[in-house]
Amino acid sequence: MTERSGSPFGYAMLAIFGALVAAFLLLPLVILCIQSFTAESFLSFPPPSYGTRWYRHVAAAANWREAALSSLVIAAIVTPLSLVLGTLAALGLDRGPMRGRGVLYGILISPMILPHIVLGLGIFRIALDLHIDDSLLSIVPAHLTITVPFVVISVGASLQSFDTGLEKAAQSLGASPLRALWHITLPIIRPGLVGGGIFAFIMSFDEFIITYFLSVQTRTLPLEIFSTLRYQVSPAIAAVSALTIAFSAALTVALMMRGQVISAGRIVR
């Protein structure tokens, strides 16, 4: 560890500032979670009485269960597809010719910087023309435009530090290029794959704007929250939101622990 320089006053300021930023980011979530445990029929803060009434309500309500299920199904289809497409793209960028690499990379990750409303509108038009709106046939590809860039970035970063000499070594030992990829490259870049996959899952599970354009009958969790919100501010929404947050947080923690386990294994060298 290197010795850090700086005055105790500086540290104190840094700590206070850090705490303020964390509070700013987390406070709304904390309030929402507390509200979700209200025993009343209306949202208020702080709730006059506490209970798990609304969690029981959500668990029993058909609309919430169906919405959660369709979100999970979509994310479960989108995630492996994103991994395959994103990994192939990252490999292509890494191994292909230098020329045009930057442009191609920019195009591939552009959905991350384009306003989703613009993206949604474009996809909506195409889906209408092809008569595939309000179906997985349009929702899954639409989600892919958003999730694939995350995989490209995450896997691309892993490939940066990957020594292609290892693939050559595998080939000299009798592995075809495809088997070298499978047995050597993919296991070694697994942290990037796991990270990209979890990101893709959360992004898809969470997606609202583009899905909103495409859906009529289909109800994903974010859509159900939105439509419920338009008619009533039910504490059920707080409960659903709290559950979603817990789910995403669990995935993120799993991701971080994974990263730690992996780096602990490697750090020995």
Binding site: A169, A170, S172
Partner: protein, 354 residues
């Protein structure tokens, strides 16, 4: 039958000719070294044997079979990389087993052969470790075991000892040479270190500018270099231009800027020839001392290397010579400016192509 044949092999990258026409045969069980300065095409040549580089023209045969355009994984060639390229996510056991797994060798035989290979490089106790948990020298040995276990037609090594310290490097040289003889394996070794090449090889191919400038046994290459490049690359040398004064049989009397020389080699009277004299073959004595009786000169400079001393001698007749004497030599207490006498035994000056 030869293990590897390269026939008029050329590799061009755009306008750069990395390999400009190489012919080379490696006999079965032979240790051949490609030696040369940086950029002379050693790695490119090796990669064409391995299949990672496809020649622009020419033919590569392995075990008599034309492999010029065959993919690397379809050749039976073992390779040891400079950075070892061990698979970091596999134990040493699994690293060594990889080639056998790819070949579909059954489990029992695989385990037996991996065990043997690890024993061969004295790493049986480390089978369950990961590459990150062993030293550089041990990694080197795993890389060797991994390449040997597939019983390759030829083993290729590209500067395999570059990352090791001197002590370990010397040890690995001896180990590799012993293993190679013991297993009777054909081997192509790449280095830019002439000592390494001299101490290990059956034959050395000295390369320059994408061409083999000379190929021969270490003795041939060192004692009888074909040209100035090889002479200079293979260690310290004195290279002089001499004029032939008279010839008798295979011997000739010549004069190099006032210094009389007796050469092996033919030539007509009056011919100018280029002559190489290895500095450690020159006798040196204090001026006037008994047994010296040679060409007079003076110590212009000296460098002390522990086991030997390198002198720069300015001869009274003009030319300068480098002379290397063992430190134990009685003349070793010479100082700069001391008068000396130099003698060059007959047959030591060697005529080379310029």
């Amino acid at each position: 039958m030869s293990a590897v044949d390269l026939e008029a092999v050329v590799k061009r990258y755009g306008r750069v000719e990395a390999v400009a026409g190489v012919d080379l045969s490696v006999e079965s069980g032979e240790f051949v070294t490609l030696l040369g300065p940086s950029g002379c095409g050693k790695t490119t040549t090796l990669q064409m044997i391995a299949g990672f580089v496809i020649p622009t023209s020419g033919q590569v045969r392995i075990g008599g079979r034309d492999c010029t355009r065959l993919a690397p994984h379809r050749r039976n060639v073992g390779m040891v990389f400079q950075n070892y390229a061990l698979f970091p996510h596999m134990t040493l056991q699994d690293n060594v087993a990889f080639g056998l797994r790819m070949r579909g060798v059954p489990r029992a035989e695989r385990d037996r052969r991996v065990g043997e290979a690890l024993a061969l490089v004295r790493l049986s106790d480390y089978a369950d470790r990961y590459p990150g948990q062993i030293s550089g020298g041990q990694q080197q040995r795993v890389a060797l075991a991994r390449a040997l276990v597939i019983r390759p037609d030829v083993l290729l090594l590209d500067e395999p000892f570059g990352a090791l310290d001197k002590h370990l490097r010397d040890r690995m040289r001896v180990d590799l040479r012993e293993l190679q003889k013991q297993l009777g394996i054909s081997l192509v070794f790449v280095t830019h270190d002439q000592e390494e090449a001299l101490s290990m090889s059956d034959r050395i191919a000295v390369m320059e500018g994408g061409l083999i400038r000379q190929i021969g046994t270490p003795g041939d290459i060192y004692e009888r270099p074909a040209n100035r490049f090889v002479a200079e690359f293979m260690g310290e040398s004195n290279i002089l231009t001499a004029r032939i004064l008279s010839t008798s049989g295979s011997e000739a009397e010549a004069d190099a800027g006032g210094m009389p020389l007796r050469l092996n080699g033919s030539g007509a009277r009056g011919d100018a020839v280029t002559v190489m004299i290895r500095p450690e073959k020159i006798m040196l004595g204090r001026a006037g001392a008994a047994g010296a009786g040679g060409i007079p000169g003076r110590v212009a400079a000296l460098q002390y290397f522990g086991s030997s001393v390198h002198y720069r001698i300015a001869l009274d007749c003009g030319p300068e010579l480098t002379v290397i004497r063992p430190e134990a030599d009685p003349v070793s207490r010479l100082a700069v400016g001391d008068g000396v006498e130099v003698a060059i035994p007959p047959g030591i000056p060697f005529v080379i192509d310029d």
